[in-house]
Symmetry: C3
Subunit: 107 residues, 3 copies
């Protein structure tokens, strides 16, 4: 079987952030994602508590891309939004599909 | 990056148990959760087979809280309900948000 | 606590494949599953790009069953469909429920 180890990043956020998050993931090198509606509450103590419609986004990426995405999430979202982000290691079938071309740079 | 290792607990259960499960998670020390509607079937051989509306609940907690939650699920749910529970290890951004105050005791 | 290590297989696929995938999982030895609606896009470069309704299916199985399922997915789906498959290791409560009888053979 053709498998390899990759990083699975999961993001739980307010629904209003969905399109922006997905756009950032793809821009930073993710080659796909899935997104589903969930409800929930973020962590106590976050600046903005919320209980509206939420989204749960998943993406699987090589470790180097994961590092780039996590740094961007930390810098661009975690201070201002009650976003929850976690990362695990998974084995994927057809690993070559998870490594896209070098990410597009935005000027 | 500010990350730490935490436990991700996932619970698959009948929808009717959702509010009770979430209440127990928060009472036992979880600081947040997400819940989404899914369909499915529990494991063959469980006392009650079901195929109605189900819920999938996730919570991320420190290891000590995870142990407390798993013990409570085993004692309070697994004998009577077709609940499926699994735990993995994940790295989280902003780990300080996952440790709440000492859990409230109910008399 | 009564726990054991199992494999969590997650499949992201076009919704039209849902019933066939679930049927294959159960035939190959899975004793349960959950399925939820998600949206998303598969990996760039897959033969068929799609952005219609998708499904996210999860099943927890012993390692030997996981190997059988992954081999079947690789052989029967990955060439023709934009299916994404990943596997992780989780600890489950009540592990005896995840091992069914020897899978039914189809002639």
């Amino acid at each position: 079987m053709n498998t390899a180890s990759m990083k699975l990043i999961t993001i739980f956020a307010e629904h209003v952030l969905k399109d922006r998050l997905i756009s950032d993931l793809l821009r930073l090198g993710a080659t796909g994602y899935s997104a589903g509606d969930v409800e929930g509450v973020g962590n106590r103590g976050t600046p903005i508590a919320w209980q509206g419609p939420n989204v749960r986004i998943e993406t699987i990426v090589p470790p180097a891309v994961a590092d780039r995405i996590l740094a961007a999430l930390e810098n661009d979202y975690l201070r201002d939004y009650a976003v929850v982000v976690w990362v695990g290691t998974v084995e994927v079938l057809r690993p070559e599909k998870f490594s896209g071309p070098t990410p597009r740079r935005t000027p």
